[in-house]
Amino acid sequence: MELVCPAGTPASLRAALDAGADVVYVGFRDETNARNFPGLNFSPEELEEGVKKAHDMGRQVYVAINTYPQAGNLDPWYRAVDAAARIGVDAVILADVGLLDYAKRHHPSLRRHLSVQASASNPEAINFYRSAFDVQRVVLPRVLTVREIAELITEIDVETEVFAFGGMCVMAEGRCSLSSYATGKSPNMNGVCSPASHVEYEQRRGKLVSRLGEFTINSFPNEEAAGYPTLCKGRFIGHTGDPSYLFEEPTSLNVMMMLPELIQAGVKALKIEGRQRGKAYVHQVVSGYRHAIDAAMKGEPVPFMDMGNITEGTRSTAGAYEKNWR
């Protein structure tokens, strides 16, 4: 079982490698990746150094180029794929059909992984990407249960990578325009969701109100820590007339206790979310998962590790991997 870890900076990349990551995945510092945040990501030169360091340690680097290229402005995405190939990364993680086609035609020997942003949730879709673009691995969307993943693996001949820990989309990834509906900026087009540029906190009679664009996403009594207003994890009013976390609570995904089942299912790699997080986060999560995977692979019980201090809303869930989540 391969442990695939995030890095938003060269320091995080080193932290991930030191903590036992088999693979570090990164993005370029522009709109070509789905964590296009200020002060984050890699220049080609930084990537080159990172790849050298990883390879010296016998580890790997993947590059996520997983937004959807903009009509009439394809060059930044072409250039990102070209740079990744030139630098000699171990794989590129792509979502767009046109860009997969470009990568296959121009860099046939560059390994291609299908991003979670492509939301390939069934064997037919995965086999299409396999036969059309020769993808070697699919990052599965977070809509499937562990049982469904196990069944799916028997019907495809590409490796599977699943999310193990971190911020969780409740919507099918890459198929969500909620952020652009509220802010004009979306994951698919701009590499951002609920962007900080559109977030405001407002003091209102003993409450701190979090807003995204023109919409209130949540409200917290002053003594409570206010969470980030990710659109789908706010409190809203639906059928009952009472406020509730209508889509999802502000929780993080953590599948550590399901590791034996995921190994049994034949999953090839576990992915940690969080290229936007600091190196302390990277160090703690990667170390924890390194120990857990090593134990699980030996058939030993997975040690309980409290990661409450770094999970969103300090709560965690196995999310869609369990059917009752639906």
């Binding site: 903009q70 394809l74 860009l99 809509v143 409740v170 919409f215 059928h239 639906r326």
Partner: protein, 309 residues
């Protein structure tokens, strides 16, 4: 100032009913469309939730026959999020057996339809000319663009593939997100498996408000929709001139025949824009209009054009 008078060959399409209308109601709706609506293409099929599929399926042949007799092009729309064995089996069956053209709303269907003429639906990500070209080569006759694309992006796409069919979402609440989880059920304290089909209670979706009581979104089972109603009446002229060949109107629980007539008369140039807007405003009472995506701003916004005033 009066708006321009246009006269366009562009066709009008009626998207599939996204909501859980009872099957008999859907049948009657389509019969009325067949008999009275000047629409060129009608899409039909369950796109949102496979738990609803068995109710509609028995009615599809008679609905399609009636539509075809009325001279409409009929297209069967496939499920947007395909996961379970049953959903996959149904997809294989419809690809194999359907006498009607199919709209692929997931890459599974795109793969199965390779080399066979089909429509690429709005749930498939088509953001640029490379992807557009790839899908045409794969067998797409027509491609329906995703809702969040700006007019500028649409213009580039139209310019890159002249003489090909491209369809733009021009009216109705637009689907914004898909999920494995059912928010309709969740809002009623139920799970998806035991949902009691509560989505049937909301023929235009269930409104979702912020803590301030401000309307924000609408929930339709596993699908999250815009609260606002997209209305591109004002943008029709530009889009038609740029080469958009089809305009999609999403069914809402109101007089859709009148909506279709209004768009048709506007495209034909027999109705002034102001009069057309007034007709639509009278018909759509449940939410305001928006066109923000088209103008490259927040999707929920309505960008008022100066020429309108």
């Amino acid at each position: 100032m009066s708006s321009k008078v246009i006269s366009s060959q562009a066709k009008l399409t009626l998207g599939p009913v996204l909501y859980n209308w009872p099957a008999e109601q859907r049948r009657d709706f389509y019969f009325k469309i067949a008999d009275e609506a000047p629409v060129d293409v009608v899409y039909i099929g369950e796109v949102t939730c496979s738990k609803r599929t068995p109710f509609l399926t028995p009615f599809i042949p008679e609905i399609c026959d009636r539509l075809e007799q009325a001279g409409k092009e009929v297209v069967i729309s496939t499920l947007s999020l395909v996961m379970s064995k049953r959903e996959r089996k149904e997809l294989h069956e419809v690809v194999q057996d359907s006498p009607w053209m199919l709209e692929a709303n997931d890459l599974s269907a795109i793969g199965l339809l390779e080399g066979k003429e089909h429509i690429v639906g709005p749930f498939v990500n088509v953001y640029n000319e490379d992807t557009l070209g790839y899908f045409y080569q794969n067998g797409a006759r027509r491609i329906v663009l995703p809702c969040e694309l700006s007019g500028k992006a649409i213009e580039r796409l139209l310019a890159s593939n002249k003489d090909r069919e491209i369809e733009i979402q021009a009216f109705g609440r637009v689907p914004l997100a898909l999920s494995a989880r059912c928010y309709h059920a969740r809002s009623h304290g139920l799970s998806k498996d035991g949902c009691l089909y509560v989505c049937e209670q909301d023929p235009d979706g269930m409104n979702v408000e912020t803590l301030d009581g401000e309307p924000f979104l609408a929930v339709n089972g596993t699908q999250t929709m815009s609260y606002t109603v997209t209305n591109l009446l004002h943008e029709l002229d530009d889009l038609a001139q740029l080469g958009a060949t089809h305009f999609r109107l999403w069914p809402q629980d109101l007089d859709m025949v009148k909506v279709i007539q209004t768009f048709r008369e506007r495209l034909d140039g027999s109705l002034e824009e102001r009069a057309a807007q007034e007709i639509l405003s009278d018909l759509v009472k449940f939410a305001p209009f928006s066109n923000g995506f088209y103008h490259g701003v927040e999707g929920n916004h309505l960008v008022e054009m100066r020429e309108k005033i």
